[in-house]
Amino acid sequence: MAGKDCIAIACDLRLGMQSVGVSSNFEKIFEYDSVYLGLTGLATDVITLSEEFRMKHNMYKMREERRMEPDTFANLVSSSLYEKRFGPYFVGPIVAGLNSKTGKPFICGFDLIGAIDFAKDFIVAGTATDQLYGMCESLWEPDLEPEDLFETISQALLNAQDRDALSGWGAVVYIITKDKVVKRLLKTRQD
């Protein structure tokens, strides 16, 4: 979610095989310096891709001797996914970050073959997509301050995952502003 000079990204913590819950501490958000990547979908692909992006991100940093901007990272995700057009990774990625020069919030989402969805408000992905669309569409408003954005994104995620049997078992939220990143573990239902 985008706010006023800030962004927030949140995920649940469940890892499951259909109905069986395997882990309640499986984070789906990965940090690449100041760019944040949320990866939902098949766990093995989530791990594979997060590591591939870590490698590509580090290679970029060494070659270019500068940090990667969020929009650059988004294009990296897109082209990496499209490379597997006819044998895709089963994932639903989200990219969020603040542009280091302009300070402008950047958020976008992708389908599994890399079509980018640029949004100025919010992006959702995962098994609770339908529920999240409903929550975000009603709760989000422009220019929220970091603390208000935290409440909005938290309530959107919490209430959406309570209506999804496959999501839940804890939640984490990152609130990213230009000078600090706050990570909060939320109190959630455990069923």
Binding site: S34, G41, S78, S79, L81, Y82, E83, K84, R85, F86, G87, P88, Y89, F90, G92, G109, D111, L112, I113, G114, A115, I116, D117, F118, A119, T129, D130, Y133, S138, L139, E141, L144, E147, D148, F150, E151, T152, S154, Q155, L158, K178, D179, K180, V181, V182, K183, R184, L185, L186, K187
Partner: protein, 264 residues
């Protein structure tokens, strides 16, 4: 490295056979049109992207720049239209650089159709290619299997019938630029209102002979969201937090000004 990887294909087939649902790709269930006029050509598109029956993006861009004077409207699988036009764009640039000539629309058309034919329709890109080059204004369409059409007015996508109804009833020879823009916008609006796969706004691009092409992003906005009457903002402290960690991105350093010493 070059070409597309099929590494996961067999695994995904196995997964699909064992009842794991295949995620849905975003498609531009779309209305796109193009129309010639005296001295130029105009293309237009709606801005809705869908994933199944969910609206994935309410204001996406379906008009792609291939070269400054050749633009392309895309329908079908979102990733395919985006990637195939990006690829063509860079190839056209390289071609123009190596030949020292301005890119031509027929060259773009031929190259795109050969690429799509090679993939036998598996790259789901349905395109309207338009532009001006030294041989005049041009308007073509390409289907995913590689077939192409030429026309004075064309429509493609799930809203193509709604748009074509407008084009067929109102198109005439020797349209002016303004008339063509009006016609295209009305044709897209017909798709926006009457086709469920199309919606939101109208994007338009006008290409005229010997003039820079002009892109009109959100040329019409007939579906602007009304201001919410009430705020659903939660009071701070609503959400229960179990733990918190803070990563500081800036260091605060106390400094005292020091004078620099210079040897005489």
């Amino acid at each position: 490295m070059p070409g597309l990887g099929f590494d996961n294909y067999k695994r995904n087939q196995y997964l699909a056979d064992h009842g794991v649902p295949m995620p849905t790709a975003t498609s531009t269930g779309t209305t796109i049109v193009g129309c010639r006029f005296n001295g130029g050509v105009v293309i237009a598109a709606d801005t809705r992207a869908t994933a199944g029956d969910i609206v994935a993006d309410k204001n996406c861009e379906k008009l792609h720049r291939i070269s400054p004077n050749i633009w392309c409207a895309g329908a079908g699988t979102a990733a395919d239209t985006e990637m195939v036009t990006q690829l063509e764009s860079s190839n056209v640039e390289l071609h123009a650089l190596s030949t020292g000539r301005q890119p031509r629309v027929v060259a773009v058309l031929t190259h795109l159709k050969q690429h799509l034919f090679k993939y036998q329709g598996h790259i789901g890109a349905y395109l309207i290619v338009a532009g001006v080059d030294p041989t005049g204004p041009k308007l073509f369409s390409i289907h995913a299997h590689g077939s192409t059409d030429v026309g004075f007015y064309l429509s493609l996508g799930s809203g193509s019938m709604a748009a074509m109804a407008v084009l067929e009833s109102r198109w005439k020879k020797d349209l002016t630029k303004e008339e063509a823009m009006q016609l295209c916008a009305d044709a897209i609006e017909s798709g926006i209102w009457n086709d469920l796969g199309s919606g939101s706004n109208v994007d338009m691009c006008v290409m005229e002979q010997d003039k820079p092409a002009k892109m009109y992003r959100n040329y019409r906005k007939p579906n602007e969201r009304a201001q919410k009457e009430k705020s659903y903002r939660f009071p701070r402290g609503t959400t229960a937090v179990l733990a918190q960690s803070v990563r500081s991105l800036v260091d605060v350093i106390e400094t005292t000004p020091q004078s620099m010493e210079v040897d005489a």
